[in-house]
Amino acid sequence: MFHSVSFLRIIKTGLVNFTRNLWLSAAATMVMTITLVIFSTLFLLFAITSFSLQSIQNTVDISVYFKIGLAEEKIQALQQDIQSNPKVKEVKYTSAEQAFQNFKDKHASDPLITQSLNELTENPLPATLNIKANTLEDYPAIASQLQDAKYQEVVDKINFEDNRVVIERLNRILKFIVSFGVGLVAVFSLIAILVIFNTITLTIYNRREEVEIMRLVGATNWYIRGPFLTESFLYAISATVLCSLIFLPVFVKVLPKVAAYVNPQVNLFNQNIFNFWYLVLILLALSLFLATSSTLLAIRKYLKI
């Protein structure tokens, strides 16, 4: 019974509802848009912070530089010692020759460096171990283990960049964004729901005669409800479009710079969470959810079927 003619008429009536009281529609759309903008801002802040955190966490490691010309067995002995420590996640050994080769490859395009390297009679680079711990808290213990007197004769230098302070700060920011953000979005969602609820209630009131007659002549319940839902969907879609237009420049201009600043090696746009359309989809889902719930409330309370 619910064929295309009815469907088109529902959409049309919904459009009429939307345009009949433009100021009211504008207000409803605005409140919804503000909610979406707040959500998007917090969403992006969260994404950037957690991305930064990840990048920094990945860069933390301990580098052990061995003395030059050291026998391999001594290095391997130390490597085994370290690897037996349960706090260690992985150990990567780079031999002196490998390090020299890497250096050569890296500067292959620079004739000056290539030339001076060729003049060297012996390898000036040390062998190294790269150590990654299971958790950030494990690094200081591993570092102090390496400073033990028995390693003094083989280890030249230990390089441990302690980023834990930065990481902890980022973690705190992240937690703040999440708790503060959820609260803020919840408050504004509630406001949006109330405003749309009022707008739809007013439309129901304005169209009470039509609704009464529709019922009398036997219009189906969904035919009567449909236009009100359509109206609220229009608020949701307009708000999503507006919010997306606001954030499009941010995605095109600002985000690449932020990404390059945080971690030049990783392209932020390869990450799903930073995809613009991904955000638009989330916004649409959120706004449709808010619109539908408030309209169903208004219909339930004021539309007698």
């Binding site: 619910f2 003619v5 008429r9 007659i213 019922r215 036997g218």
Partner: protein, 225 residues
Amino acid sequence: MIKFENVSKQYNKSKALDGINLEIHHGEFISLVGLSGAGKTTLMKLLIGEEGIDGGRILIDDIDISKVKKSDMPFLRRKIGMVFQDIKLLPKRTAFENVAFAMEVCGHRKEKIYEDVPKILELVGLMHKRDDFPHQMSGGERQRVAIARALAHRPVLLLADEPTGNLDEVNANEVIDLLLKINQLGTTVVLATHAADLVNKVKKRVITIENGRITLEQEKGRYKL
């Protein structure tokens, strides 16, 4: 066709209808008379499922309407046309559009609407007023548009609740004549009214309601209270 079996209805402990037993047959014209508040309107509201029944049952073609699902109620309403004292036309739509509205909201196609609505307007004698708005018509004409709208779905039953309540004698007679004509064409008509002279003119079955009870049933009756 329609059977009331010991039907009762209460509003806040006051009995609007009390043990109504009534049978209405196909093609009948029934005048339901009684003072305001006697229960005429309540009886009609129960028939279109606008109000629930507190006791007894109502059968329409052997279907118990209290057992009709809420989502199926609209389809029952398409079988029952209804007109009111306050007419309830949409002020911003023409006569044609008001009748077309009833067909639109039930999903009829445009071609079908343009085919049927002129026929119905012809039947109620208002083809020449098809593009007039309600405020451009007389009370009787407006009520006839409302009747046309009620007929849009070719109902088997037409309920008219005080259709002449706001009309002068000439207009009232026009409306009653139209209802009689519709009845002659095969539609069952129930007319609720307290206008004695109209009932006496109709000379059909009369049912008198007082304080929610049927107190008198007459074939070819007269208004008596």
